[in-house]
């Protein structure tokens, strides 16, 4: 061994050369490079799938905003007014989203990230650690907004033949605009973590997520967008946008951003609002940095502490499980899975935004005056039953990939308990299936029945859709459980497992199955509806009745086959693991 004596050149006291903050971003950059160099199975497939979906969304956003900008430009001064308000409204929505996203992301990057256990022991200046973490928080919290804004603004720019100044203003607006709410959100997290113990802070922030989702629903209802569905005159639209204005609006960064971009469209530069954005973003960053230097370490230290936390005992669940006709093994597996899920706030809270969106979807059917909307009346209204079927199917696929697919992976490092116990893999996997099936079936069945009732769909179609959802639920939950067992990711968290090769495979197969089901249900249903509408060409002859029976039977057969084959394949994969 060569001399390892402490060298003054290396162990400086006081005047130690400390790294600049971008250096702390290097592991993420190197790790990304290594990931690209050493691609895993399914990376190309996943890239292709998500890339294609992303491209379609980007093109749709750009086209939509281009079309809207063209329409609005027809009204000259009033059109300018609408565009100005529209931009301000767009930024206002993102302001709330970015603030909330900043709260959640800051909790993870400043307090809960694993690499802090390494970085906090090294001689990195607190301010530099703050800047590195803030850049990371800003990027993680705002990338979705940026990805959404870029095509929208490009569409607006093209639609209004905007000069280059508009595109430059877009760049110089989005950066400070995103910084302000993310800094505010991060400050909120810093305060919460210093006031509450870490575990309660996490629950509290999750609760804020729930309130945010509910707030969005209430906001959407408050501004009554359905008023746009019966536009008789332009002033109605002006009233609609005016609802969004208030005396404090000009004080908000969303207003400054809207004004800056509008000036860009006109070929000018709004120096006042640009200055307001940049100085506010700068001031917030400096103040946040100062606050972090004082309170980050105490907050981080608290986040490492593990005081006793209160937890729900779920006595009712134990009582319910005791009376269910289950074997002891399955009863214990059921109780364990449900308790683990319900006690992990970070898991079930992710369902809340989805539930809020579904409730909004249903509520819209209740408040919309469907008879006034030409394309929603009469025969075509019944076709909407299949839109509901598709919607329920996609909701189910989303829930399944996020919560059912990772069910086996979620055993994680504790999977040895199952593998070394006298439990067959068949019992283990089928327990996972039944545990997931009940809530998913109840949720999607209620969604479908409620949506079709509110729409006033023909009773025959209501029954067919309700039946289709039952078999589709068995198929999708079985597929997710089976593929989750075939492609487990024991080391990954649930989100990573859902985005893995197996998760992407599940989504592709699930979408195909939903499309096939809708097609096979839609064909006989349309024959029935045509005949009911009294069209002679579409009389319900015995042949056509047979076609209806055969196609509906095919749906049942395909779904049952998918369910059984996927489960069998999953059990086999787990058995093979036992070797």
């Amino acid at each position: 061994m060569r001399s390892d004596a402490p060298s003054p050149a290396l162990v400086m006291s006081g005047s130690r050369r400390t790294v600049s903050f971008p250096y702390l971003l290097l592991p993420a950059i190197w790790a990304s490079r290594n990931r690209v160099r050493r691609r895993e199975r399914g990376d190309s497939l996943r890239g292709l799938l998500f890339g294609s979906i992303g491209l379609v969304v980007v093109v749709a956003l750009a086209s939509g905003s281009y079309w809207l900008a063209r329409q609005v430009s027809a009204y000259e001064e009033f059109g300018d007014y609408l565009l100005r308000l529209g931009l301000s409204w767009l930024f206002l929505s993102f302001l709330a989203f970015l603030a909330f996203s900043g709260v959640v992301t800051a909790l993870s990057s400043f307090f809960l990230a694993d690499d802090l256990r390494l970085l906090m022991t090294t001689p990195v200046a607190a301010r530099r650690l703050f800047f590195a973490r803030f850049v990371r928080t800003l990027a993680a919290a705002s990338w979705m907004v940026v990805v959404f804004m870029v095509p929208v603004l490009v569409g607006v720019g093209l639609g209004r033949h905007a000069p280059a100044a508009f595109y430059i203003a877009s760049l110089t607006t989005i950066a400070p605009f995103a910084t302000i709410p993310v800094a505010l959100g991060s400050a909120c997290t810093l305060a919460v973590v210093n006031i509450f113990p870490a575990r309660r802070a996490r629950d509290l922030l999750m609760l804020m997520g729930l309130l945010f989702a509910v707030g969005i629903v209430l906001l959407l209802r408050f501004i009554q967008p359905e008023r746009l569905m019966h536009v008789e005159s332009l002033p109605d639209i002006a009233d609609f946008f005016a609802t969004l204005q208030s005396p404090i609006t000009p004080m908000l960064p969303s207003f400054w951003a809207g004004e800056s971009l509008f000036a860009g469209i006109k070929g000018g530069v709004d120096w006042l609002h640009q200055a307001a954005l940049w100085t506010t973003a700068g001031a917030f960053t400096v103040l946040l940095g100062w606050a972090h230097e004082r309170w980050h370490f105490p907050g981080y230290s608290r986040s490492q502490e593990a005081p006793k936390t209160r937890f729900a005992r779920f006595v009712a669940l134990d009582a319910l499980a005791a009376v269910l006709p289950l074997s002891d093994v399955r009863r214990q597996l059921l109780v364990k899975d449900v308790k683990v899920f319900l006690r992990d706030v970070s898991q079930w809270v992710q369902l809340l935004p989805l539930v809020a969106l579904v409730l909004l979807y249903l509520y819209n059917f209740r408040v919309l005056d469907l008879e006034r909307i030409p394309y929603m009346s009469g025969f075509v209204k019944n076709v909407y039953a299949f839109v509901n079927l598709g919607m329920a199917g996609f909701v189910m696929a989303t829930v399944a990939v996020r919560f059912v697919f990772p069910a086996v992976s979620a055993e994680g490092a504790a999977f040895w308990i199952i593998r070394t116990s006298p439990i067959s893999m068949h019992d283990f996997l089928w327990s996972k299936f039944w545990t997931a099936l009940a809530p998913v079936l109840i949720f999607t069945e209620l969604l479908t029945i409620a949506a079709n009732l509110l729409l006033g769909v023909d009773p025959f179609l209501q029954v067919v859709a309700a039946g289709a959802i039952i078999v589709l639920t068995f198929a999708l939950v079985g597929l997710a459980t089976g593929l989750g067992a075939r492609y487990p990711r024991f080391g990954a968290d649930a989100t990573q497992a859902a985005g893995s090769y197996g998760g992407v495979m599940f989504m592709i197969l699930a979408v195909l199955l939903i499309i096939v089901t809708i097609a096979l249900v839609g064909w006989p249903a349309s024959i029935y509806m045509m005949s009911k509408a009294g069209q002679y060409r579409w009389r319900l002859t015995p042949d056509r009745q047979a076609i209806i029976v055969i196609t509906l039977s095919m749906v049942v057969a395909i779904c049952i086959a998918t369910w059984r084959v996927a489960m069998r394949s999953g059990v086999r994969a787990l058995d093979a693991m036992r070797g």
Partner: protein, 250 residues
Amino acid sequence: MIAVQHLVKEYGKFRAVDGVTLDVKPGEIHGFLGPNGAGKTTTMRMIAGLLKPSSGRILVDNHDLDTEPEAAKGALGFIPDRPFIYDKLTAAEFLRFHAGLYGMSNGMVEGRVHEMLDLFELRQWENELIESFSHGMKQRLVMSSAFFHRPRAVAVDEPMVGLDPRGARLIKDVFRRMSERGVAILMSTHTLEVAQEMCHRISIIQKGRIIAQGTVDEVKQLAGSADDEHLTSVFLKLTGGSGLQEIDEI
């Protein structure tokens, strides 16, 4: 070199560490022993700068961790019981990054990377992702990073866990040679044979308080044990109960 003075850590009303005082001199290997939940890891994490003490002082190389955290951390190498390593980096990349964190200039780094990988028998895995490493290899990599910047003091929590006999011997050799070169080592461990074999002095902590401190012989005297008695029985005497009764009752 590592001076801990009247260190206290409270979680609400519970005192996990209650007035701990330690002094690890240059070249000394100091064993930090105690039963599970006694406060060893909490103390080590405070010394490393991961936990804020409720009261008390920690000095590393005469730098107060509270008022000069960068200088104190720069003089310390820390090996935690559950280390974090970037799984998607290679061993060499991890060490290079570590060198940067401690302000080492580029010219010195490459040679040092190879030197440390050779020393800890990881050279052939230099360009492999850490995620493919075994537990023992990861442990050796963390140790190589802790010694990489030539610290004046090292705090190590449970160094032998997960190491095979060859790895354990290697680590013991490294610790001894570092100590010969003046590095102060504070080592928390449950492996009493290792403590007896390697440590110049030991401290035994129970319920957050130091209940015995000194050389192994001094601690034996304190416990009223014979000179040839093994440290395990001394430890059990001091911390209460042999544990055999409980085992019989199972």
